[in-house]
Symmetry: C2
Subunit: 356 residues, 2 copies
DNA sequence: GTGAAAGCGCTAACAA
DNA sequence: TTGTTAGCGCTTTCAC
């Protein structure tokens, strides 16, 4: 295999300590010595063995990222952001997929896999509030998303309730009154789920506007995907429900809603305005382009990595768990009547900005 | 931090070797002893230190995956498949993004980052044929995709030429004669690029059918994205070109083509049939759903991991570099007139299957 | 400013 | 069947 520090020391005619000093930029090394060492390193093509270094230092420089599935746009984009953020800290990212499966999630958290990592970013979907105690693990762990509250770990999440309020207010402001809601849910159904929080915001906004809620317009499908969104539309139309707007609790559902509306012959936004949630890249390319809530994914990723790094470097007594919420924005596009984007070459930018 | 093997040995009243034997399922351990050790392990919550093990064995159980960007659907799905395939071999996957940037790709290949990995799966986009010599690296490396031929490494790729031929033949078979082609290209433009190979197949199929090529219908945009696809349509229409089909060299371009056609008032598939390439999840949800070439992504991922594992375990003289091509299929959907999918709840399945 | 030597936690000869 | 021991390649006191 590769050359070792010892080999370098031999060729340079110095001790391994000196080689180590050079590699680690220890200041007090004579330039002559340093150059001799550098020459030897170049000559042998020496590369420090990170495994050995990891053994010594107790750190690997790798963090784990556990998400349901990379093929889901939101998580692919989240992983993208996390990898970029980690890179700035000189960290590599080991990606693990849980499939949103509770048992797999538990396994990841048990540290059974992911043992090379200095810490883990974990986006739970299958686990719920009841599993909170399991999160009290002996390694740095930061939670992404909103499934579990008041857990024993740091937690980076979004303004689910207030962004939902703002979304409905936006729909009201453009004159919509019969606003349907389409969401989904996994195994668990605690008060901390996306469904619960965003639905709460929806009801609150309607209340505040003095508009009576209509439970027939609140739809819940089994999956957070397009099929679910399209099915919800077909159901409502089949039942003869009337509505002039749909708030879909994620973009995949919203894209399905767009397709469903097209299939039943309803125009967007003329007949029905549509808003999604997540601001995945794709939402801007949909036909019509999709108005959606940008929950601050970049900020979430950067903050989460930041917190994790702090925890990794933390010594002595642990600081109490922290919760951070990213700023959100409503990105107004064609599906709520924002002037047609001039050309697909121009990326849509936020029109309405409603910080926390 | 955690307990060590030594602690376990102490509590169990045995030597570290015995503990090691138990952990590694060494057969000749008396059940009584084994149980005592297991009890001690449980009591201390002992977990083997993988870093130390890695130092000893010279392996980490981690492979690297270098792709341009996870936010590009194709690569997210590829990463998904790779992670699943790696898991079956008990390997973790460290994901690195190159942004398709030649220098970053070179850096990754230099092993500057990725130093913890036993080997790397690399999907080059910025590098080209000229960089082939750089691929002669001192660690296991398997190439994904078709940028570089006859390199010094194993290579898993797709049937670019023959699948393009089959695609055009499919369009001819449904009566289209004025078939446009929309592709893009990166820095390099060797004969091994997606553009070159797929375009070659396109021309060959037209030749074989005795249809004269029309270079005004061959469009090349700067990026493999929707904006590029939409722009190509706008250009051709502005120039007054007439065409009854578009073969887009990837799905992102094809989705942009769909949007562009809609914007200029052309119907799909009545006026223009559209075929993409990649079979990303999204293609099946587009409106209309997109006919596309499935290049065998799952198989590519599984094969690549397989080859890499073989290389990692290879001792002595290296076997010569191998090239493997995955089977492809044409997935026929609405954009070429396949009967409308009954409901978005039903995932479209391949209709036309054209193995190598 | 540089060297010698002791481990980090684990595995695998080699002994017993 | 189990124990002893020597490293894997690196960092890091502690001398010099």
């Amino acid at each position: 295999m590769g050359a070792t520090m010892h080999d370098v020391a031999l060729i340079a005619g110095v001790s391994v300590k000196t080689v180590s000093n050079v590699i680690n930029d220890y200041p007090h090394v004579r330039p002559v010595t340093r150059n001799r060492v550098l020459a030897a390193i170049a000559e042998l093509g020496y590369r420090p063995n990170l495994t050995a270094r990891g053994l010594r230092s107790g750190k690997t420089g790798i963090i784990g990222l556990a998400v349901p599935e990379l093929r889901e746009n939101y998580f692919a984009e989240l992983a993208d952001s996390v990898i970029r953020a980690a890179e700035k800290h000189g960290l590599g990212v080991l990606v693990e997929q849980t499939n949103g499966d509770r048992d797999t999630e538990r396994l990841v958290i048990s540290g059974a896999r992911m043992h090379f990592t200095d810490g883990i970013l974990f986006s739970p979907v299958g686990m719920g509030q009841a599993d909170a105690p399991l999160l009290d693990v002996p390694f740095p762990l930061v939670l992404l998303g909103e499934r579990i509250f008041n857990g024993p770990t740091d937690h980076v999440t979004m303004h689910n309730v207030s962004s939902a309020v703002a979304t409905v207010e936006h729909l009201l402001s453009i004159g919509r009154r019969r606003i349907a809601l389409v969401g989904a849910e996994g195994d668990d159904d605690s008060d901390a789920s996306s469904w619960s929080l965003r639905t709460r915001g929806y009801r609150r906004a309607l209340d505040q506007a003095g508009i009576p809620g209509n439970e027939r317009l609140v739809r819940r499908t089994s999956h957070w995907n397009r099929a679910g969104g399209a099915a919800a539309i077909h159901e409502m139309v089949a039942e003869g429900q009337e509505f002039d707007a749909v708030f879909a609790l994620n973009d995949a559902l919203a894209l399905g809603v767009l397709r469903g509306l097209q299939e039943v012959g309803l125009r967007v936004p003329e007949d029905v305005a549509v808003v999604g949630f997540d601001n995945v890249d794709e939402s801007q390319y949909a036909v019509p382009s999709l108005t959606t809530v940008d929950p601050g994914r970049e900020e979430i990723a950067a903050t989460a990595v930041e917190l994790l790094v702090e925890r990794i470097n933390e010594k002595g007594v642990k600081a109490p768990p922290r919760t951070v919420k990213a700023d959100f924005h409503i990105v107004s596009r064609e599906s709520t009547g924002a002037g047609p984007v001039p050309s697909p070459l121009v990326a849509a930018t936020p029109r309405v900005e409603l910080p926390t």
